[in-house]
Symmetry: C2
Subunit: 200 residues, 2 copies
């Protein structure tokens, strides 16, 4: 049997659904999975580190990356750019390393066109009221931004049908377990196996 490529796991869903927390916990539990660091023009939150959580860039720098075709996908969201540098992702997959991306829905749909064999996971909050509460608690956005996010989230829920899996994030541990189960299952999928039964 040939060596398989790594899995590209795309974790997406409405803002505030908790995909960042799930992603972080998965990486802690499965250190062999590699996180694809995104580039963004938004301001760092207090705990965030440049080059670890995001590559924080100015609008000018980001636009230059777009023009040089250095991004796998990019999107403008709440007046900030977000994007995924292409080179690192492809190199890891070819080396058999699983890569996880945590991105907004517009970006995920762009990735799907280029990586139809990626594993597309949609994280949803248990309800819109929980979502609103979570965004408020984070306390990093103004009321106007929060209102916009909730409107966007409501609209975005309808994109679930574009995804392979949906995880309702009611309890972090359960949600992370589901994601881990999805990874194991996907590695057993026949369509991912370059079968050669001469060796069996």
């Amino acid at each position: 049997m040939e060596k398989s490529n790594g899995l590209l796991i795309v974790l997406s869903g409405p803002s505030g659904a908790g995909k960042g927390t799930i992603c972080h916990e998965l990486l802690r539990q499965l250190p062999d999975v590699k996180y694809s660091v995104s580039a963004t023009t938004r301001n760092p939150r207090p705990s965030e580190v440049d080059g670890v959580d995001y590559f924080f860039r100015t609008r000018e720098e980001f636009q230059s990356m777009i023009q040089n075709d250095e991004l796998l996908e990019w999107a403008e969201f709440c007046e900030n750019y977000y994007g995924t540098p292409q080179f690192a992702v492809e190199q890891s997959l070819q080396a058999g390393i699983d890569v996880i991306l945590e991105i907004e829905i517009q970006g995920a749909l762009q990735i799907k066109k280029r990586f139809p064999h990626g594993v597309f996971v949609f994280v949803v909050p248990p309800s819109l009221s929980v979502l609103s509460e979570r965004i408020h608690k984070r306390g990093t956005e103004s009321e106007d931004v929060i209102r916009k996010r909730l409107e966007t989230a409501t609209r975005e829920l309808s994109y679930v049908t574009e995804y392979d899996y949906v995880i309702v994030n009611d309890e972090l541990d359960k949600a992370v377990d589901k994601l881990k189960n999805i990874l194991v299952a996907e590695k057993c999928r026949v369509k991912r196996k370059p079968y050669d039964f001469q060796g069996v």
Copy 2:
């Protein structure tokens, strides 16, 4: 969100691949999953109990079940009939109970036509020499039957492409874990969710 139907898990693969052992262990670990007892005309092995491992039937009784359309699938294999009584399976699925079937490949392909949303898992031995060893160790078949089974197994491996998942049964615990992961993952699949986001 509506109540989902149970999953129909179809565990299949060449004779001697160990699907029976995997199935047995899964049922021990997940008592909520229901085993669909098959009917057969073959002789019981020493440890097997009628109505628990199989419904052991005469050829005449089996042919009457075929004529009365009481079987979801049936096949003749090594000069014996094997089949799956339909009623019990459908009733369980509709009640939201997961059902596992452990059947030969011909039977699995018949099931797939009627239950395209079933989860089709192909269990393969690590190699044909291991397969031969396992059938010999079981010691319940004649040399002639064993030779026939190995020929059939070689041919049957090519059917893997008809399945959703493949599990290489090199270690029982790992194989059972993979199957359990597949069940959790399948329950997260978007295509299985009757989504109604009014409630979200």
